[in-house]
Symmetry: C2
Subunit: 349 residues, 2 copies
């Protein structure tokens, strides 16, 4: 599913490194995009701020100007990673969750692929986690009250037919375009018969429009178990927000490192690339963060916008550096610096 | 944490095989308990019904008589596994979730241990998932309404200070009794700052009473990732209900099979053993289900009641059969029948 590229004479990309290693890997992704050159229209980057550091400095985690620039000026964006406060901080709320919501980026698409298959050989792990990105517990409707036995907190989990159908449609479209054309619906309707029941039914109801896709379903607990035991049974998985969050991290563990797993947050009118990893404060500033997840997120974003050639050039360059095995960051067992990996990738682009 | 055994002149154990392979593995657990003989007081078993099959036959998944027998007649119980309907079935609601609630079995304790360490050698995976068992989304407060864009469903997630503190206390007690004395608190307070914030704070607040325990915390997505990458970092994990459900299945994948992972549902006055696996309708009736999870659940239940000697005899017998490697069910790569494994274990008890 790609947006029309024809009308676009230039490309404006918002860059939101946010916290920690986001500040190392987003510049890396920019460098990779710049290397693509003439396979993209003239490209302009806009530096934008958000994150916990922005919050501690300005009192706001997601400044209005950042949102406005994305809405009015940018065609797409790349987001880095946010640090979570280690204690509860009054007034702080995750900017990435807010951005997904404000820009209605309802689909979080996370392809997970084994790191180093030989060229042409099919990969042991090759799946896409399609995660609903706007509702579930992520609507953040929470209250605390005082009950008979102390504090009581409640959160609302929202599942709508509309959001379930549109994420379902996205998942069927992605499945249809893949060789195996297989979709697994993830839910926990043995406990949440109403909310997860609605998710399941809404996705199931679309099946008649996609007869070429085979459909299975699994309870989320059992899905995580089987993901580790038999990853090859999965092709495309579609899940409500929180299950998708957990499943994509679980799948990342299968391919060796979160440092290589890209994603896009996609809506009907905007797309934002985002590495699946976090801000990793423990390794920040050492020039050893793996830039691959961000660089692949850039490729995925370009692909989503219809720039297949540019995306392919980035992905093939990354594949080749990974297969080479000479320049890998520590998370993949190597000793290379972030900048060395970026340089090698840029050379191959 | 064990309940006083002194006052007990006899032991009455409720057996609720429920659905599918539950009907094969609960009898196996009974046989193992019977083999313990004089290390237990005179023991009586009460056969009780519940489950999806019970529902289709009687219209009720958890009959009143079953609950009454457990409350009035039994000292403890063993529960098998329930099948989930493949479509939404009006009036059906999971009996295991209801039982945990009705008997106030607030702690689901799931030790996960590598299957076959040599005797004396420390195990690669050796952790306990301590799962809150009465609230979170499992309170099943759900409604469906019709909104502007179709159906909308909402569920309430409840986290209380009281439930978080009592599960926290259980987790610290368990951690304190282990060599490593390490506790990891699982939450997602970067999104659910109120509910998971309360869980985290409530468990953290107990730390001053257990200075010998070291405490870490992790976001649930990252915890699942690290569970697969570095399982050795975990000792005891404490989690709200749903995260605990997912984490215990994830941990089970690490030790080769859900077929070996036991649990108890424990309250202050009652304990119910339960294998972590499901009802596995695909293998039911073939005499190939792994009885070890249920047999170990029986041992765990006895241990919780204070019958250490009986519990040890069962566990050592299972260890020895597993280490032997001659009689393993298909989930562990063997060809043995359920009944052969039970026989071998009983011989060693
Ligand atoms: C940082 C956090 C709010 C976020 C999420 O839970 O969505 C992250 O885990 C992710 O997967 O992008
Ligand atoms: C059967 C189901 C309701 C149950 C749960 O989610 O608790 C099961 O997955 C478990 O872990 O015991």
């Amino acid at each position: 599913r790609s947006m029309a590229t024809s009308a676009r004479k230039s490309l404006t990309i918002g860059l939101i490194p946010a916290d920690g290693i986001g500040k190392e890997v987003i510049p890396a992704a920019r460098t990779a995009i710049e290397a693509v050159g003439s396979d993209l229209p003239p490209t302009r980057f806009v530096d934008l701020i958000a994150g916990f550091e922005t919050f501690t400095r300005t009192g706001v985690a997601l400044p209005e100007e950042t949102v406005e620039s994305l809405q009015n000026e940018c065609d797409c964006a790349l987001f880095g990673s946010v640090s979570s406060p280690s204690k509860k901080v009054v007034g702080y709320s995750s900017p990435i969750v807010a951005l997904r919501k404000k820009l209605d980026l309802y689909a979080n698409i996370r392809p997970v692929l084994s790191v180093s298959p030989n060229p042409g050989e099919s990969s042991a792990v090759d799946m896409i986690v399609v995660r609903e990105n706007t509702e579930c517990l992520y609507i953040k409707q929470e209250q605390q009250t005082i009950g008979e036995h102390g504090k009581e907190a409640r959160a609302t989990r929202l599942i709508t037919e509309r959001a379930s159908s549109r994420i379902g449609r996205m998942a069927y479209e992605l499945a249809k375009a893949r060789p195996r054309k297989h979709l697994t619906i993830i839910h926990k309707s043995n406990v949440l018969s109403v909310t997860d029941g609605l998710f399941r039914e809404s996705v199931r109801a679309l099946h008649e429009k996609y007869p070429e896709v085979t459909v299975a379903e699994q309870l989320v607990d059992s899905a995580v178990y089987r993901l580790f035991r038999e990853p090859q049974i999965y092709d495309v998985m579609v899940a409500p927000n929180l299950y998708g969050d957990i499943l994509s991290d679980a799948a990342a563990a299968l391919v060796g490192s979160l440092g290589v797993v890209p994603s896009v947050n996609a809506g009907d009118n905007f797309v934002m690339g985002e590495p699946v990893h976090g801000s990793a404060p423990d390794i920040f500033g050492q020039n050893i963060a793996n830039p691959i997840a961000s660089i692949r997120s850039a490729a995925l974003m370009l692909r989503h916008l219809g720039y297949m050639k540019g995306a392919d050039r980035i992905d093939l360059a990354v594949d080749s550096v990974v297969r080479d095995g000479q320049l890998l960051t520590p998370d993949l067992g190597g000793k290379a610096k972030t900048s060395e990996v970026v340089e090698a990738i840029v050379k191959k682009i």
